[in-house]
């Protein structure tokens, strides 16, 4: 397996030259996020991830999790690596200082997650799910629940889960059947079965805190009757320590295509004691607090796997000698098609990093900026970019992982190369936390109704106007003008076509999300090209500018295949009747 080296040069480029991370330190509460701290965080997180967590990626895949009589054992080394990681304070990076966190911006947590996911996507899920549980408790939990659970979850001493899915309730949570009965003593009895529960059971920590969606007996049908409960694996005693075992047990774990190091559990709640979070029947709204962050996190998993596959492919292509290339080069990196694949991998991966970090910065602004209207505008951007960060980056993860195997040829198909694992790991990112179809429907549905895609198109057009006099950027500015016009036109078509027939956006949403994402990447590649132009005496910036050109000429034009497909609507998709298939 290729060794993982954190792409710190590119990460710092995005943080400094693309999103201007230093502005975050001006926000109230983020005064500590000065450039030296940003650098220190990236440097030290890179060390611990490269040396202790990334080396477990391949062994974790081979060994997988083991289930025995309700107990799950993670692959060798995971427990020790998790303990080192959490004891070193990394799980609390962006959590509230009131509960033992460091209160740093989410943007920095994003940079660390970028590395953690690339280093070991399966491992990243354990702290990742805990983040979601923390966020939901922080936003919606009572003071008592916060005092009982948040500190241990922040420090990573305990981990958290999200228990949503049931066999009949996957993408459609209105079908949730798990029951909650009020005991009239401040507790509820939870009864039901949850599936696909990441980190539902494992051997890292003393307690696991499940956040569970369930229904009260008198609850309205559908999503308006779902409540959220905290169900600890061990009841917490008055001193805050794990006490009696709560009857929530792991019935089995799944055998999966990839992310073998992550335990995916069937959880059986056998009249387990739970505590209501917030108000009854508002669980779905609370769930989205976890879910939105989880979606951004999954986008980083897509970015991570793409980064790792790109590193592995470039390293191999620089060493493998096979047939002298047309330019006389001996290694396969000189063959035009290998180069095409590598440039595609590099351009897509780096584009996803720019969008992810920029979205993270807007998330921080949406939380911390003193001006409410600025917060609102930033939050709109996060809302718009969440499906794009999730779906496009995970599509990129799959495309890049697949190219990665191809660059290695037959060797890539052999397990020992480590490259095939990335394909198997990457696929789930397109599926969980809302499939990429759900993301696309969110974009053309709710987000389009809020006018968010349209607003950002205008913003991109305005930004472009500012560059129009710059001849050196003409290579990307002109194609982006045409691309934005076409995206605008396609968006208008889709808005009108949705009124005619709701199947139109539903049948073209995925293509529209891809088109929107490509143009968004173009928007950021202009920024990258502008920053790189000034520093053309250095290989990194030369490579950056060359990649911006490649993106413009070889990736952005994909939209010209997508626009007519979108504008062909749903008719040819839905004409065939069920029996004809």
């Amino acid at each position: 397996m290729p060794e993982y080296k954190a792409p710190q040069r590119d990460m710092m480029f995005v943080l400094n030259d693309i999103i201007n991370v230093s502005e975050l330190a001006e926000l109230p509460g983020f005064e500590d996020a000065t450039p030296d701290i940003v650098q220190g965080v990236v440097d030290e997180a890179a060390k611990i991830i490269e040396n202790t967590i990334a080396p477990l990626n391949e062994t974790g895949d081979r060994e997988g999790c083991r289930f025995d009589n309700g107990m799950v054992t993670a692959p060798a080394g995971f427990k020790e690596a998790y303990q080192l990681y959490s004891e070193s304070g990394w799980t609390g990076l962006d959590k509230s200082i009131d509960f033992g966190g460091q209160g740093l911006p989410y943007t920095l947590a994003t940079a660390v997650s970028d590395m953690l996911c690339a280093g070991n996507d399966a491992f990243s899920l354990y702290p990742g799910l805990t983040n979601g549980a923390c966020e939901a408790l922080m936003e919606h939990g009572s003071q008592e629940l916060q005092d009982t659970y948040l500190e241990k979850l922040t420090t990573g001493e305990w981990t958290g889960t999200m228990c949503l899915t049931e066999p009949q309730a996957g993408s459609d949570l209105s079908q949730v059947r798990t029951r909650a009965i009020d005991q009239n003593d401040g507790t509820y009895l939870i009864e039901g079965t949850k599936i696909f529960i990441t980190g539902g059971e494992h051997d890292f920590v003393d307690n696991i805190i499940h956040l569970v969606l369930a229904r009260l007996p008198d609850a309205p049908a559908g999503v308006k009757g779902i409540s959220m409960f905290v169900v600890p694996k061990f009841m917490v005693d008055s001193d805050g320590n794990p006490g009696a075992r709560n009857p929530v047990v792991c019935a089995s774990i799944e055998e999966k295509m990839g992310i073998h190091g992550s335990s995916t559990c069937v959880m059986s709640f056998e009249n387990a004691t739970g505590y209501l979070i917030g108000n009854a029947n508002e669980g779905l709204r609370y769930m989205f607090t976890m879910m939105n962050l989880a979606r951004l996190m999954v986008g980083l998993q897509g970015l991570g796997v793409a980064e790792r596959a790109t590193q592995g492919a470039i390293e191999y292509a620089k060493e493998r000698k096979q047939a002298t290339a047309i330019n006389g080069g001996e290694t396969i990196i000189h063959h035009p098609d290998v180069r095409r694949m590598l440039m595609t991998m590099k351009a897509l991966t780096e584009g996803c990093r720019m969008v992810a970090y920029d979205t993270a910065k807007h998330y921080d602004i949406s939380k911390a900026h003193p001006d409410e209207s600025v917060r609102k505008t930033a939050n709109d951007r996060v809302e718009l970019m969440t499906p794009i960060c999730k779906a496009f980056a995970t599509d990129v993860g799959c495309e890049v992982a697949s190219l990665g195997v191809l660059v290695l040829g037959g060797a890539g198909y052999i397990r020992e190369s480590g490259m095939e694992q990335y394909i198997r790991d990457a696929k789930i990112f397109c599926i969980y936390e809302g499939t990429n179809t759900i993301q696309a429907l969110d974009l053309v549905g709710r987000k389009m109704k809020m006018n968010l895609p349209q607003t950002f198109i205008k913003e991109m057009i305005n930004d472009l106007a500012a560059e129009s006099g710059n001849d050196e950027l003409g290579f990307i500015v002109e194609p982006m003008q045409a691309a934005l016009n076409l995206l605008d036109k396609t968006t208008q078509w889709l808005t009108a076509a949705a009124l005619e027939d709701p199947q139109n956006p539903a049948a073209t949403a995925v293509e529209y999300l891809t088109m929107y994402s490509l143009v968004t990447h173009g928007h950021f590649w202009i920024k990258a090209a502008r920053a790189a132009l000034a520093k053309q005496d250095d290989d990194f910036y030369k490579g950056k500018l060359a990649t911006a050109r490649f993106f413009t000429n070889k990736i952005l034009p994909r939209i010209y295949g997508l626009a007519p497909v979108i504008m062909a609507g749903s008719e040819s998709v839905m004409t065939a009747e069920e029996d004809w298939l």
């Binding site: 500590d32 701290i37 650098q39 220190g40 440097d43």
Partner: protein
């Protein structure tokens, strides 16, 4: 007992070094910079001595431009108590570095000065030895094991013939070799705490030292790329070919 640990800002060991087009040196603009790895080992050893109750205070020192403070912050995040920054944009060669450290010895009166055995940028491996001479202290270079027993340090050194154990009276200069220890991972809360630890700044003039360069760098260039070899049919031809090249 105080321990003074010298650390140097260098291009990170993972970075592929690029020579500047005009041959004036190595490109470092925007390149990842880190603490010299041997210095990191020296810091770790000093911290372990403190944690074992053998020392009361660990002071990190660096000589270099303003940005070198990043490396001091790393040392502070690892656990050093405070730091000294001798700020200069001059090219500092080993003898100058040793003179500066000697001036700081007079101020701080440490019992041990620890350094990495060499810095991975210029690979000089001279500062520790020169400092010992200037301070008239014993030296124990290339340490792979260190025990402090009262006023004596027992040091196992990595020498060409294997390992050698010597006892040096303190105060002494000790330089760290690769196998002395494995530096710890820095904890995130300690990165934050390091921001609040004090760094004293001095100029060369404050210390009465001039940056006299005894070695002048004329030009920096990348090693020549290796030429393709030739095949010879017989041993005689080989001998002739070697003689032609003055190799035999």
């Amino acid at each position: 007992m105080k321990i003074l640990v010298a650390v140097k800002r260098v291009v990170d060991f993972n970075v592929r070094i690029q020579v500047k087009a005009d041959g004036s040196g190595v490109a470092s603009d925007g390149v990842k910079m880190s603490m010299n790895p041997f210095d990191e080992i020296a810091v770790e050893e000093a911290l372990r001595l403190k944690e074992a109750g053998k020392a009361e205070e660990v002071i990190a020192i660096t000589i270099g431009p303003k940005a070198s403070q990043e490396q001091l912050r790393t040392a502070l995040a690892m656990g050093a108590d405070r730091a000294i920054h001798v700020e200069t944009d001059e090219d500092i060669q080993p003898l100058t570095a040793a003179r500066i450290l000697n001036a700081i010895i007079d101020k701080e009166e440490p019992k041990i000065v620890m350094l990495g055995k060499q810095a991975i940028d210029d690979d000089n491996n001279q500062t520790a030895q020169m400092l010992a001479a200037l301070a008239n202290w014993p030296q124990a270079t290339f340490a792979s094991q260190l025990e402090v027993d009262g006023d004596v340090a027992n040091v196992t050194r990595e020498v060409d013939a294997g390992l050698e154990t010597i006892a040096v009276d303190l105060p002494a200069v000790i330089s760290a070799d690769l196998r002395l220890n494995e530096p710890r991972y820095v904890k995130l809360p300690d990165i934050m705490k390091a921001k609040r630890k004090p760094i004293d700044t001095f100029t060369l003039a404050d210390l009465g030292v001039e940056a006299a360069a005894s070695v002048k760098v004329l030009k920096t260039s990348a090693p020549a790329t290796r030429q393709a070899g030739i095949k010879v049919e017989t041993v005689d031809e080989l001998v002739v070919a070697l003689k032609e090249r003055g190799l035999f």
